[in-house]
Amino acid sequence: MKYIDTIKRAGRSLKNAKARTLLTSLAIGVGAFTITLSLAAGEGGKSYTDQIVNANTSRTELLVTKKQPVSSQGPQVYDENAVSGAAGAGSATQIAFLSQADLATIAKQDNVKTVTPNYRPSVRYITSEAGKKFVVDSIAAFSSSVTGAYAAGTVDGGLSSSEIIVPEEYSKSLGFNSPQDAIGKTVSIRADKLSSPVTAPESKDFNYTIKAVSSKSGLAFRTQASVQLSADATRDLYTYINQGTRAYGNFLLAAVEINNASQANDVKAALQAKGFEAQTAEDLLGTVNTFINVLLGIVIGFGALAVLTSVFGIINTQYISVLERTQQIGLMKALGMRRRDVGRLFKLEAAWIGFLGGAIGAGLAVIAGTVANPFISKALNIGDISLLSFNPFAVGGVVIGLMLVAVVSGILPARKASKLDPIEALRTE
């Protein structure tokens, strides 16, 4: 018997028992629905974390620190080169900072393009022509490889040393009616020279033109609240503030730009061998991803449980079907249909049920997900990112996988059918 004929006959038998077929496949559909949604959430979650990476750091960027002294029992051994506490304020623990020599070592490493120390200048305040003064939480160096979201203005052409990016909240507080209104206006930042004697404090105002207003984003942790300056301007500020202090020239952190994202782990290993700690973008998000994966595992587990339940449903339905169609099976065998073909007919019926259930479940999941996506994004405040992203291959894979599961569940009833004695089956009395 030809495969295609068997498939058609199997399909027709199911059509003759529509309600039963549908109910049986719905059981498998529940599993398909759950698994498809979980896979979509996994896919979406990964692209979400990916976007977080791109919004905060870049895959070609490593965050490098000096290897910190291992804490052991008893007092820490004093290190001549390490700086005690924050900015050498004389704290109980010593933190190892990156010195200029360290930076030079890192820069000489293969595949390293640039090394930018994390200047993090601490300034007094920021103000505009309106006159109100505001504290600046942090000043970050602008990096073109980090994807930012902007309410107004553009930084496509880069950021010059006299330009600034302010967060949306600042632009409002600084007295601008709208983000658009702030573009091109001047703000000034007051910085204190730390090395100046207490008796004759020295301060300076730095003026910048607003190039862009960064908008709040569900993704960006680093740049969200930061005022951003160009790398040069950040360095200038840092130099003015810290020159002449003990901490000057020592940095907790440096951003290392490498040539190619695929080299991230090699460079990391090389730097670790030289006494540095390096974090790649993946390291940063490893924890997040692990969390997502664990959650997904649980949900997929529930889906698998639903599929397992439906397996028994299929076995049951097919068994009853075999009993109901004893005569038909007997006739087919009397007409010379081979055991193998009879078994195949029932396995293919099971496959149809699996396909139907898979298609219904996965289809509903895609529809539900597509409808729910905007609401989820809104509820989680993650902008226009879709947390449920359906990969056609994954959806197809789910359907095919469930068909296989169905075929496996159909094996027992199919065996029963193929072993049926035609004489017994055709006895009508």
Binding site: M1, K2, D5, R9, R12, N16, Q327, Q328, G330, L331, M332, K333, A334, L335, G336, M337, R338, R339, D341, P422, I423, L426, T428
Partner: protein
């Protein structure tokens, strides 16, 4: 030609053993119409099963075209049935939810007949049983007589050598029954197909060339309407001795 030699069949084991067929010997020439006549429980259906390869007697030979089908493996017997045999049953066994065309198509699908040929054969078979106009109908919408004609179409569609009909008219009224009978005998005569009818109806049996009477699993008599003399010999040989000596309980 079909030769049945020394066929013996027993059901059950030891004390409960029940001899369904014993000492069955006869020969059927190609193209003959044969009635296997007997009461219910006489073993006539069992004989049909043995001759068609559905059942395996533990003793004897069933030789069709020089090949003892009892020595064939299951696969080969399936093939033998699919290619050489057509079946008609008392209860029709047409698939009610399938169309007329799909019902007739089943033996062709089993025998792996190609698509193009299938269509032609289905039409020809339905034509000869006068059901071509019902080709797209569901079988459940047919009357009893039409169902049995459909079964006839299914039996002849793959041009078998032998057609087994088990009480073909048992579920039909006499008028429709006669129509089906005419169709069967007509096909038998026109195409030279061997027709073996299992029945308890002497009137139907009388229309056949050869009547084989079965009683308690043994051949009581064989009558050949065309060659009365030749068969009378066989009857003289076998019948009187066996019929009395074994007192089997049915």
């Amino acid at each position: 030609m079909i030769e049945v030699k020394n066929v013996k069949m027993t059901y059950g084991k030891k004390q409960n053993a029940f001899v369904a067929l014993e000492d069955i010997n006869f020969t059927i020439p190609d193209g003959a119409s044969v009635a296997i006549l007997g009461k219910s429980g006489s073993g006539k259906s069992t004989l049909m099963h043995a001759m068609s390869g559905l059942d395996r007697p533990e003793q004897g030979q069933v030789i069709v075209d020089g090949q003892d089908i009892l020595t064939l493996k299951e696969k080969q017997i399936d093939k033998f049935r699919a290619s050489k045999i057509g079946f008609i049953f008392q209860s029709f066994f047409v698939q009610a939810n399938e169309t007329v065309s799909d019902n007739v198509s089943l033996p062709l699908e089993i025998a792996d007949v190609s698509w193009g040929e299938r269509k032609k054969k289905i039409r020809a078979a339905l034509e000869s049983v006068d059901l071509l106009d019902k080709i797209g109908n569901k079988a459940k919408n047919l009357s009893g007589g039409q169902k049995q004609r459909l079964a006839v179409a299914r039996a002849i569609v793959n041009e078998p050598q032998i057609i087994f009909a088990d009480e073909p008219t048992g579920n039909l009224d006499s008028v429709t029954g006669e129509k089906v009978e005419d169709m069967l005998f007509g096909y038998n005569k026109e195409n030279g197909v061997t027709l073996i009818i299992v029945t308890h109806d002497p009137d139907l049996a009388a229309k056949c060339d050869i009547q084989i009477n079965i009683k308690d699993g043994r051949i009581e008599s064989i009558r050949d309407t065309n060659e009365v003399e030749a068969v009378a010999e066989v009857v003289a040989d076998d019948a009187p001795t066996d019929a009395e000596s074994d007192g089997e309980e049915a």
